[in-house]
């Protein structure tokens, strides 16, 4: 009897085939796209656009790529949708399983490290072009702050400061956040600049979608702080996005960064 608290190890040992995927033709695979995370004092915000592409087609216009990982953290994913969603599902069970068996949750570092291990398990498929890259954001009780972790396909784990983005539009989103970020307490500000960053990414990257006001399809935005995980409501997002779009009518490139 082994007493590991890991669901992943248990699954690998008992039903390893449950973890395997095989598929040909990587351009036929649905890909996910721009995810951003922005820290504020006392928490972190994560946002993801809603487009999934298959080659040069839009496969889905309302896919969700940002999920709760547990009560105090969020995971966003870019890459092959099938692999990515399976990874999220496995990670959620991994954290819950540990919490139930041990009677307490893992530390933030512990959770981030477990995600590394799961990713490394997919390295073979990632080398064949079926990669999924997560962005992990957690509220750290001990520090009363939000923390952001990025990953590479080998399971490398890198803690980021203040903000980060992953996915095909991430370069543009990161450039946008670089000019907008301020370390302040207001989570609404973090939500606003996260949405501006996705808007900027959507303008430059064809695989990222901006807000679809006609269909009321907005980026998924979540917040994690001392109160736990919270998904920002459609109404709240509609308000913020209306303001952003009004601003963009005056200046299509978005707000001007203050210079001192």
């Amino acid at each position: 009897m082994d007493f590991s608290s890991s669901f992943y190890e248990h699954l690998r040992q008992t039903q390893g085939e449950r973890l395997a995927f095989k598929k040909d033709g990587t351009d036929q695979i649905i890909h996910g796209t721009t995810i951003v995370a922005v820290a504020f004092t006392g928490g972190v915000v994560m946002a993801g656009d809603r487009r999934a592409t298959m080659g040069n087609y839009v496969a889905q216009n309302d896919i969700e790529k940002v999920f709760p990982a547990d009560d105090f953290s969020a995971i966003g994913i870019a890459g092959s949708a099938g692999i990515a969603i399976e990874l999220v599902k496995l990670f959620q069970v991994e954290l819950e399983h540990y919490e139930k068996i041990e009677g307490m949750p893992l530390s933030v570092e512990g959770k981030a490290n477990r995600l590394s291990v799961l990713l490394r398990g997919n390295l073979g498929l990632a080398m064949e072009g079926l990669a999924a890259l997560p962005l992990y954001a957690a509220y750290d009780k001990n520090r009363n702050s939000g923390r952001v972790f990025s990953y590479d396909i080998t399971g490398g784990r890198y803690e980021e400061h203040d903000y980060f983005a992953v996915g095909s539009g991430s370069l543009f989103a990161r450039a946008s956040l670089k000019k907008m970020f301020e370390p302040i307490e207001d989570s609404n500000f973090a939500i606003q600049i996260a949405l501006e960053a996705i808007y900027d990414a959507a303008e430059e990257d064809s695989a990222t979608a901006g807000p679809d006001m006609a269909r009321n399809i907005y980026p998924v935005v979540v917040k994690v702080d001392s109160q736990g995980f919270e998904k920002i409501s459609q109404e709240a997002l509609a308000n913020i996005l209306t303001k952003i779009l009004k601003g963009r009518k005056n200046r299509p490139d978005g707000p001007i960064a203050r210079h001192s």
Partner: protein, 231 residues
């Protein structure tokens, strides 16, 4: 060649049952009851580290008495069983009934085949949308499985405690009323000073009918105190 002594199956079963009963009767009891607000699990357990009550899944809880290492093993395999099912199929496909059946198999096999039977009694409870949909299963050391309604006690003085519960329990009771009734029932069998039977000696958890997703919640000493004081 040596010939083993003949022991009749009746004798063997009786000896094994006596052995298991003796082990279980030494332990402190646990009461699991239904309430309008959900399912309440109360254990007489002074230890803050070694739990007798645990979360298994979104709407399923586990309570046990007897040998700690034995029921801890069952608890962990129950969590694995449920997480595996939920991961392979869907979260809604995890049920207390299948878990209780798996436990019954394990305990029944141990009773007949193992070197010694398991000295444990378990309760597996599943929260329904309304009180009538709740499912509570009681498992005994030989793998027998009973479907309980209202309240169920396990452990040394289970019968006596059930009797006391029977006098006060009503389906319309709130958590605080059921908690008081449970504490009274557990305390009635306690030789020690009744006054000492306070929140510090209780392990209490609920399956909350007003919540969605993971409904299991362990109550802190303060929360238990507050519940005991509300009338």
């Amino acid at each position: 060649m040596s010939v083993p002594f003949y022991v009749s199956p009746e004798q063997l079963t009786r000896d094994r049952a006596d052995f298991a009963r003796k082990g279980i009767s030494r332990g402190r009891s646990v009461v699991v009851s239904q309430s309008s607000e959900g399912i309440l699990l109360v254990a007489d357990n002074p230890s803050k580290a070694l739990h007798k009550i645990s979360e298994i899944y979104d709407r399923i809880a586990f309570a046990a008495v007897g040998k700690y290492n034995e029921f801890e093993n069952l608890r962990v395999s129950g969590i694995r069983f449920s997480d595996m099912r939920g991961f392979s199929y869907d979260r809604s496909d995890v049920s207390a009934r299948s878990l209780a059946n798996a436990y019954a198999q394990t305990m029944g096999t141990a009773f007949t085949d193992a070197l010694k039977p398991l000295e444990v009694e378990l309760v597996v409870a599943q929260l329904g949308q309304k009180l009538a949909d709740d499912e509570i299963y009681k498992l005994t050391f030989d793998g027998s499985l009973a479907d309980e309604h209202g309240y169920v006690a396990i452990g040394g003085q289970a019968d006596e405690i059930s009797q006391v519960m029977g006098q006060s329990w009503k389906s319309t009771m709130s958590f605080s009323k059921v908690l008081k009734a449970s504490v009274e029932a557990l305390g009635s069998q306690n030789n020690q000073d009744q006054q000492n039977f306070d929140a510090l000696r209780l392990e209490v958890a609920i399956l909350d009918r007003n919540k969605s997703g993971r409904t299991f919640r362990r109550l802190t000493v303060q929360q238990i105190d507050t519940l005991l004081k509300t009338s």
